[in-house]
């Protein structure tokens, strides 16, 4: 998409209206693969979802299933050697095909990212003030210094960091404060969409809960759309509107958190929830085996070798994405469409026994 060059300051003021009903982010058949000597690791393999303004989508799944790759792919922050395909539209504009310059303009100002370990993203030699000045100047170079400080202090204040700490260095902050600092940095340009990749994993229990609450308020206060990557289904339950369950590079089920968690349709979702240890756990459950090698995943449904409901059809034919009863999408032969299952396809699948040898 071509765009007239706008004065950066004006550009900031004349942002498109966000309050429409259209999705902020719309991903279609997104694929990301890493080239290796053994072949291509298909880390994200045909993922589609929409994110509405002010909505939080939780992305869960076992480690290695492609969550971080998807998050970075949406931002255009993939490492060298990674390739991607498909379509990611930000308010209708295709971000995967735009020029690097436009993509850079979009990142930071419209798309933000929060990482697990804030210290690796903060420069220990720079004061907090310098971090903010740099972030703002990059996108709005003509903003007067007073304005810059003002915006930075506002963002910090929202995160509960007092103005007295504006001239401090990152190491003078506690872990939770650093993470709030990172969120403030991501928010200072008021992006419409933020990817947060395991933002609380490195934090203490109480601080984790505080940050979850902050993320929760974010969508209400600013209509920021958030993709929250986590392995903690408890956090999804508490902070997300919708959930996408990822397995071996695919989103196998997505829908409203209340629907999906109350009546999971996909066997993987069900097993993942059952294996989570919570305060109400009275017995231990687990999924045998481990996720497949993404260079050479099993044919048909990738969960078939571990699935307690696997049928003959599952081992040969990719399941089809269908409307989820209760809303959302799911891809699993056990849910449907039954009329496409060939004769004899519903017979129980003979699975190899899974020992610890196959285990994660």
């Amino acid at each position: 998409m071509t765009q007239p060059e706008l004065d950066p300051v004006l550009e900031a003021e004349f942002q498109p209206d966000v309050t429409g009903d259209g999705p902020v982010i719309s991903a279609r058949d997104v694929r990301v693969w890493y080239g290796t000597t053994r072949g291509a690791i298909r880390a994200v393999d045909g993922v589609s979802f929409d994110l509405a303004p002010g909505e939080t989508l939780g992305l869960v799944g076992e480690s290695g299933c492609g969550k971080s790759t998807l998050g970075r792919g949406l931002m255009g922050l993939l490492p060298a050697g990674a390739k991607r395909d498909g379509e990611v539209r930000f308010r209708g504009e295709d971000v995967l095909t735009m020029s690097p310059r436009d993509a850079h303009r979009l990142r930071g100002s419209q798309l933000g990212m929060i990482f697990q370990e804030p210290m690796t993203r903060l420069n220990p030699l720079l004061r907090v003030s310098a971090h903010f000045e740099e972030a703002i100047r990059q996108h709005e170079p003509k903003l007067p210094k007073r304005e810059v400080t003002q915006r930075a202090l506002d963002a910090l204040r929202m995160m509960g960091i007092p103005p007295t700490r504006y001239r401090s260095y990152p190491h003078e902050f506690s872990g939770g404060m650093r993470q709030r600092l990172m969120i403030a940095l991501a928010l200072v340009l008021r992006p419409a969409f933020i990817v947060a990749d395991e933002p609380t994993t490195a934090l203490d229990v109480l601080v984790e809960a505080q940050i979850v609450q902050i993320l929760n308020d974010l969508r209400r206060d600013f209509r920021t759309s958030l993709l929250l990557i986590t392995h903690n289904v408890g956090i999804v339950a508490e902070a997300c509107d919708r959930v996408a369950v990822m397995y071996a590079g695919r989103i196998v089920e997505q829908g409203r958190v209340a629907d999906v968690f109350a009546a999971p349709q996909h066997p993987y979702t069900r097993e993942l929830l059952r294996s989570t240890i919570s305060l109400r756990t009275t017995g231990l459950n687990f999924i045998p085996g481990s996720p497949p090698d993404l260079i050479d995943p099993p044919p048909g449904c990738r969960f078939a070798p571990r699935c307690p409901q696997a049928m003959a059809v599952c081992a040969t034919t990719d399941p089809i994405t269908i409307e989820r009863p209760g809303g959302g999408q799911v891809e699993c032969w056990a849910v449907g469409p039954t009329d496409l299952i060939p004769a004899g396809g519903t017979a129980r699948l003979q699975q190899e026994e899974l020992a610890v040898a196959d285990e994660a």
Binding site: E62, S63, Q150, L153, L156, R157, G160, I161, P162, P163, T164, R165, S174, G175, G176, M177, D204, V205, L206, V207, E208, A209, Q210, V212, Q213, H231, N232, V233, G234, I235, V236, A237, E238, V257, A258, F261, A262, E271, L272, L273, S275, T276, I277, S278, L279, R280, T281, T282, L284, N285, F286, I287, S290, A355, V356, A357, E359, A360
Partner: protein
Amino acid sequence: MPTKPDLIDVRDLSVHFGLRGGTLGRLVGRDAGVVRAVDGISVTLREGEVLGLVGESGSGKSTFGRALLGLAPATSGTIGFDGADLTSMSRSELRALRQSIQMVFQDPSAALNPSMTVAEAVGDALRVHGMKSSVERRERVVEALERVGLSPVQLFLDKYPRDLSGGQKQRVVLARAIVMGPRVLVADEPISMLDMSVRAKILQLMLDLKQDLGLSYVYITHDLASAKFFCDRIAIMYLGRIVEIGDTEEIFANPRHPYTKALLRAAPDPDPARAVAKDLPRGEVPDAAVPPLGCSFHPRCPEAVAQCGWEARDLRTLLETHWTRRTPEEYDAESAAVGSLDALARPDTSVHVGRGGADAVRSILDRIRDEEPDEPLWRGVADVTDDGAGVRVDFHPGVDPALRRAGGVDVACVLYPDDSPDDSAGG
């Protein structure tokens, strides 16, 4: 329930670390201080029991666990095991002790030597402890690997850590821990680095090992959910102290210490229907080198009262938090009247604040008080008097609450005065 005999009896254990190299000392405005990583802990581990140590970072859980193996030097106190005091043992006695007490660490990758095969890693301890016959060693290694579910064993014996998944590595670590036939396993966050779906598997394995080998565990974690499922008794720790200890059921049914209640509220619940808005304590675990006065939890405690240890640093936090809610203009004016907060950086119970005149400073404090009448800090303020260009704030002296009996558990909090001593009528 018949009480099992005590296996480990820890009495008043302290482990203090000196802050060498004055940098940190200078930073915190103190000469060469100490970190009281473990600060007067008494606890017993009974035969066949799982004792949980639960708390946030820096509460001293790992240091305590390491002290049980003689890996962290006790500053004072005793650790009784089998009638001997572990804190006064020689190196060789400690080495012999490792046949009986073993440790499992959080990060299985860091715990395993990358250049040793599984067979070597598990057999090494046997060799160190003088088992000369390699055939015999091999037998014991195979047996241990089978016990931890790494079968067929032949598939694993010659593998290196890099060939194993996280869960498999933790199984190897467990095999190495049990190969000597220990009676106690100190497990420091054994599942927290593992993927969600693997945690239950390793926890199940630990349960099986306990059953099959008659082990007792000290289970260290910050995760209340796994502790609730796994432990018979739980000690909640904060900044080097046990603040509440009792049977798991009672701790969860009737949490008493405000910190225990806070941890319970914070635990995420995967049932969206139950996930309610939470009233969380503010702030974070403070620097252990300069802990809060009185009760260490007081800066975060929603129930704190006058004698909980209020001091200058709390006033600083109050002002700073207040300023996150003010407009920039108000902040500029108020901070000019208050002046530098450096005077509020030390643990003083009487402090001068302000440079813009007593009235100006007093009105700022009054304003905060009007806005936040329920702020516990006000309960700790004894007096505010005019003092030069500002005011002097005097706080009530704090008390450092000791662990006391309260309804079947022990709690260290002024809200729970002792309910048991010499009271034969009590039960």
